[in-house]
């Protein structure tokens, strides 16, 4: 299905006043009614600073209110607007149209996630696997009972994991992972990178517990180091490196 609707007249709305425009192809799919995904095309004006999310919202505002998209912060912090943009998983709010160097921009829902509708996908599996690896500090004492003093760390100890704590749970890494595409039980790069984040934290005492969780037939060993997770991470977390470092613990190279 392809159509090019005309600009709807709407009082109080101001479309971008630009001479440049792109064709925005939006994947439409409602699992309750549709048997297959289709695309709708819209001509959207843009400025050099216009993001893909802004273009989609422009479509929602002026052309088709029914396009389903999840978004919130618009500044690559909430991790809500992950989608496939011109074949690559990206955050729509963090991707400028001008940087794509294309007159046609295709947006699709993320791979390896069940589709709710159009561009919105279910995050249950990501949150379940994230929760499974116990993403919190495990230790018997607390900061409150130890003379109400915080647990101190040296800058070197902080360096061990700080990069991995930038994860915003956007799911782009899981969307890009080839193992996730076939193995429905795989923990996934997001959860594995977070497992490393806590295992490498000097304040944490739950290393053995956490390593046991990921040491199963659909755990860390199913990563084939394609590295696509790290390529698409918008926050520079580098899950592939985290997984390799975590393997160092499992193989006895790190303690």
């Amino acid at each position: 299905m392809a159509q090019t609707p005309s600009l709807a007249e709407e009082s109080g709305s101001t479309p971008f006043s630009s001479s440049q425009s792109i064709t925005l192809r939006i994947a439409r799919y409602n699992p309750q009614h549709d048997s297959a995904k289709s695309f709708m095309e819209f001509q959207v004006p843009y400025e050099k600073w216009t993001t893909v999310l802004e273009a989609i919202l422009e479509v929602k505002k002026h052309f088709d209110h029914s396009v389903a998209v999840r978004y919130s912060c618009r500044q690559a912090t909430c991790g809500s607007c992950g989608m496939i943009i011109n074949g690559k998983p990206r955050l729509a709010c963090f991707t400028k149209i001008s940087e794509l160097n294309s007159n046609v921009i295709t947006v699709e829902p993320m791979n390896n996630f069940p589709i709710i509708r159009d561009l919105a996908v279910k995050f249950e599996r990501l949150f379940d696997t994230h929760h499974k690896i116990k993403p919190y500090l495990i230790r018997d004492d607390t900061e409150i009972t130890t003379n109400t003093k915080e647990f101190l760390q040296t800058p070197e100890e902080l360096e061990q994991y700080i990069q991995f704590s930038n994860c915003i749970k956007c799911g782009l890494c899981n969307s890009a992972c080839p193992t996730m595409a076939t193995d429905s039980s795989f923990v996934g790069p997001q959860a594995l990178a977070q497992a490393y984040r806590y295992v490498a934290d000097s304040r944490d005492k739950g290393k053995d517990n956490r390593l046991k969780i990921i040491d199963d037939s659909h755990g860390i060993w199913r990563c084939h180091f394609a590295g696509s997770c790290s390529q698409v991470c918008p926050k520079g977390v580098d899950p592939a490196m985290g997984i390799q470092l975590l393997r160092g613990y499992m193989l006895g190279f790190r303690s």
Binding site: S184, D215, D216, S217, H218, G219, W221, R222
Partner: protein, 114 residues
């Protein structure tokens, strides 16, 4: 068995197999390929126990490594408790069968059954 132990065996068998297959190839270079595959030459190799022992070890290493690799591929293709158990036990059974069949040749030669 924990997956980490299985994968340590997987990596270990790969490294050991590389070393022993290299020795095997070097041994084969001592004579021409056509000559190497002649009946008498093959029987002589199997009767030379240190070399036959090395071939047996290569067979075991490659069987373990290969069938575990196959198990991993099959587990990634499809999931389910029954399927996964069938794949794991099936691969172990196939591995034992292949080792037994390969060992049978060496044993037959050395017991004069050829």
């Amino acid at each position: 068995m924990r997956e980490s132990i299985i994968m340590k065996i997987h990596y270990g068998t790969a490294l050991a197999a590389i070393a022993l297959v290299a020795v095997h190839i070097l041994m084969r270079l001592t004579q021409g390929f056509a000559e190497s595959l002649e009946y008498d030459s093959v029987i002589a190799n199997y009767k030379f126990l240190p070399y036959a022992g090395m071939l047996e070890i290569i067979l075991i290493l490659l069987s373990i490594h290969g069938f575990n690799g196959l198990r991993v591929i099959l587990l990634e293709l499809k999931q389910g408790r029954t399927y996964e158990k069938a794949v794991s036990y099936g691969c172990v059974a196939a591995m034992i069968a292949l080792i037994a069949y390969g060992s049978r040749t060496i044993i037959m030669v050395n017991t004069g059954m050829t």
